[in-house]
């Protein structure tokens, strides 16, 4: 019954979305006051998808094996939390989550938006309904999560043990919230293009959504990177895997949008450009979903290979992106460009930021999709990995980081002050970092060396906007910007240190033997069998020391039974200045064990930087929301909206 209730809720929601779309067309043509009705429909639609998702959670929590999806992806012996998380750890469940977030976001847009005109809101709600309708059709026709099995089997097929991890419970939903949050920016842009009301009001209505989505994408990418680092046991934090790129591309587009939207909000300029970025940002989310969900890529994350679904998703992508760009081509040229600005101005700085981000985005996009094109056209198989992305996008990212220090110092409209004086201290710091690395580590590669230089410079330059003013009177949005930009410097330091100074040891050790990795001496004590709820393992006990103190690490080689799989569980110990990362491998006939040890100085800064960037976004969001609330309380409030 529960599964059927979920399915019914989905069908109803799809019907409401169709109605919402029809109402939008009618309202725009005849100037009907349909806003109220559409707001209620959007809210009910969001509620219905929530019900459907709750039903899926219930069948997973109960391990109802008569539901095909539960049989395929769950098992009665699985820990409860992973039973529930398993609901969205598979194709159908994750698409249901996607649609749920899409509709709930639409409901919030309908209920909360007071800033746009009624006409634009109606058009945006229509666009959101059109998006939702396509994905409802995809679920109901090609990926029904509630399909039944008759007779019901006795036991489920389990879940990939690699995915039995707290990372799974939070990582995909966080990314999905981010992806789908961008749908609101897309719908608002489409709506505003339809009504022609592209102005700073629209930018202010759009900004909290973009910021929110961007924060979640940042957190999702950071968490995903850490998950891959400790779970996959390869010691790397970013593999340029197509699935990772699928989350990076919307992030790059959203970052560009986040900056250009400020120009539109503050100065009314860059109208067409900002609308296009809003369209591109959500298009990238859909490209990401297509890449992950169609299973067309060779990837550690690829789950299913199902051409029917892939074609369906590709068709949806083509329709939405094509329609949005068509609309843009039709209406974009008629937008009046806003306030002019001079060559040296914050506007120009943000334009350069946008151009660089777009170039990086295009490079990642081409590199990710190139193997598909080549294979489709010539049948030749190839893969594009870290060597391409690091060499081509890396220098551009460094250039961008260099400019991040300058942009916030520029004034709107025109800059006449000799502002480069302020950058003396940061520049000196950068140069001394460079000199230090040349003296202390002459053999270092060029990219990490430049990375450390830029990081040292940016760490100082990013806080300049707070210098010379009382820090408590600076707006929260300024604080947010400073924290996020500082976070870039922190992450960059971590990446450069990790690339340059990681020491790795791979050897056979017998119990009692000592290996060294960087400053560490690691002794293998013994290897003993151990067991968990649905796995058995061989666990090595390692004693590590560097001078004083002794730490114990217990990496495992785990064997899961349903389905039969082996995984390496790394043991990682974190110190203020780095991480000791250990893996145990296979037994040697002579009684030794394969051990892989890494000492990774300051590697944790990578994720700390990511967290700071997200925190900066959160501060800025808080600042904007506070102003929104204050403004609502005082109808005559007229202040500058930073």
């Amino acid at each position: 019954m529960i599964a059927e209730a979920g399915l019914a809720a989905l069908w109803l929601a799809a019907g409401l979305a169709a109605l919402q779309l029809v109402l939008m067309i009618a309202a725009l043509r005849a100037d009907l006051g349909a806003a109220r009705t559409m707001q209620s429909i959007a809210a009910v639609q969001g509620g219905l998808t929530l019900i459907a998702f709750a039903m899926l959670l219930i069948v997973f929590a109960r391990t109802d094996l008569s539901v095909a999806l539960v049989f395929e992806n769950s098992h009665s012996a699985k820990p409860f939390i992973y039973k529930v998380a398993g609901a969205w750890g598979n194709h159908e469940g994750s698409m249901l989550l996607w649609v749920t977030v899409l509709s709930v976001a639409g409901a919030f847009l309908a209920l909360l938006s007071r800033r746009t005109s009624q006409r634009t809101l109606v058009a945006a709600l229509g666009a959101q309904a059109a998006l939702a309708l396509g994905f409802y059709a995809f679920l109901l026709i090609a990926s029904n999560p509630f399909a039944r099995l008759n007779p019901a089997p006795f036991e489920g097929r389990g879940l990939n043990p690699l995915l039995q991890d707290p990372g799974l419970a939070f990582h995909p939903p966080t990314l999905y919230f981010g992806y789908v949050g961008l749908s609101i920016a897309f719908s608002l842009a489409v709506g505003a293009l339809l009504t022609g009301e592209v102005d700073s009001r629209l930018a202010r209505a759009m900004r909290p959504w973009v910021l929110g989505a961007w924060i979640l994408l940042t957190l999702g990418i950071t968490a995903g990177s850490y998950w891959a680092y400790y779970e996959l046991g390869w010691g790397g934090y970013w593999f340029w895997d197509p699935v990772e790129n699928a989350s990076l591309m919307p992030w790059l587009a959203a970052t560009a949008l986040l900056h250009s939207i400020n120009v539109l909000a503050a100065r009314g300029a860059l109208k067409a450009w900002t609308m296009m970025l809003a369209v591109i940002a959500f298009s990238m989310s859909m490209v990401g979903t297509f890449l992950v969900r169609s299973g067309i890529l060779t990837s550690v994350h690829a789950f299913a290979i199902d051409p029917e679904r892939g074609t369906f998703l590709l068709a949806l992508l083509a329709i939405y992106v094509g329609a949005a760009f068509g609309l843009f081509a039709w209406r974009g040229a008629s937008l009046k460009e806003g306030a002019p600005f001079e060559l040296v101005s914050r506007e120009t700085g943000l334009v350069i930021n946008n151009l660089l981000l777009s170039v990086i985005l295009a490079i990642v996009f081409v590199g990710t999709l190139y193997p598909l094109f080549v294979e489709a056209i010539t049948g030749e198989k190839l893969s594009v990995g870290a060597p391409y992305f690091n060499a081509v996008a890396g220098p551009l990212a460094l250039m961008l980081a260099l400019l991040v220090g300058i942009g916030p110092l520029l004034a709107w409209r025109r800059e006449r002050r000799p502002m480069f004086k302020q950058l003396t201290v940061p520049a000196l710091l950068g140069v001394s970092a460079l000199v230090f690395t040349i003296i202390l580590a002459p053999g270092m590669h060029i990219l990490p060396r430049l990375g450390l230089m830029v990081a040292a410079y940016l760490a100082a330059a990013s806080v300049l906007p707070l210098i010379g003013r009382s820090p408590f009177r600076a707006p929260l949005a300024t604080w947010g910007m400073v924290v996020a930009h500082f976070g870039i410097a922190v992450a960059l330091t971590g990446m450069a240190m990790n690339a340059a100074f990681t020491s790795e040891t791979l050897a056979i050790a017998k119990p009692g033997e000592i290996l060294s990795a960087g400053p560490w001496h690691v002794q293998l004590q013994d290897v003993t069998p151990t067991a968990g709820k649905n796995w058995t393992a061989l666990e090595a006990t390692l004693k590590a020391s560097r001078g004083e103190g002794l730490v114990t690490l217990k990496p495992q080689m785990r064997y899961f039974t349903d389905p039969p799989t082996e995984t390496n569980e790394a043991a990682i110990d974190t110190f203020w200045n780095g991480q000791l990362y250990t893996i145990v491998g296979k037994a040697d006939p002579s009684g030794g064990w394969q051990l892989r040890l890494w000492w990774k100085p300051f590697v944790t800064l990578i994720w700390a930087g990511g967290a700071l960037i997200a925190l900066g976004g959160a501060l800025a969001l808080l600042g904007h929301l506070r102003r929104l609330l204050r403004r609502r309380r005082e109808p005559n409030w007229r202040g500058r909206y930073a």
Binding site: V359, V366, L506, I583, G592
Partner: protein
């Protein structure tokens, strides 16, 4: 700047950026994309020496040999037609077995494939698409032999 000129400059800048991106990407891809080969391709001389490529096939039964240092292995990848010896230093991935599929990434050096990374079948259900057909053929071949 007049708004009209401003828009023109923006359009030109955007176009230049896109062109730059495409040129950079093409240059990067030409130098750095790694091609996928099977042992038959290697025997036919399609794989360039010294360039990073991927080699995929089935791990030949009885071919996995552990070297004296304990952490290097030698094995043979085969696609039924031809086979290539592979040398790998590292901990083999979880699902690396004799008789199952694997993709090695590395370079061809004097007839031996020196692998930096080995990607094995990820779990019971997942198989890299490049290996999917190969595995099916392998199975079919075995059934015929029986």
């Amino acid at each position: 700047m007049k708004p009209k000129n401003q828009r023109l400059v923006l359009v030109i800048a955007a176009t230049a950026a896109v062109l730059l991106a495409v040129l950079l990407a093409m240059w990067g891809l030409r130098e750095r994309a790694s091609y996928f080969y099977t042992p038959a391709d290697v025997v036919a001389g399609k794989a360039e020496q010294g360039r990073t490529v991927r080699l995929g096939g089935m791990v030949e039964r009885g071919s996995v040999q552990r070297l004296a240092d304990g952490v290097s292995i030698r094995f043979v990848l085969t696609d039924g037609e031809a086979s290539t010896p592979v040398l790998f230093r590292g901990i083999t991935p979880d699902l690396f077995h004799e008789g199952s599929g694997a993709v090695a990434e590395g370079r061809l050096e004097n007839g031996t494939f020196v692998a930096d990374t080995i990607l094995a079948k990820h779990d019971e259900r997942y198989m890299p698409p490049e290996l999917g057909n190969l595995a099916a053929e392998h199975k079919a071949g075995k059934t015929l032999q029986r």
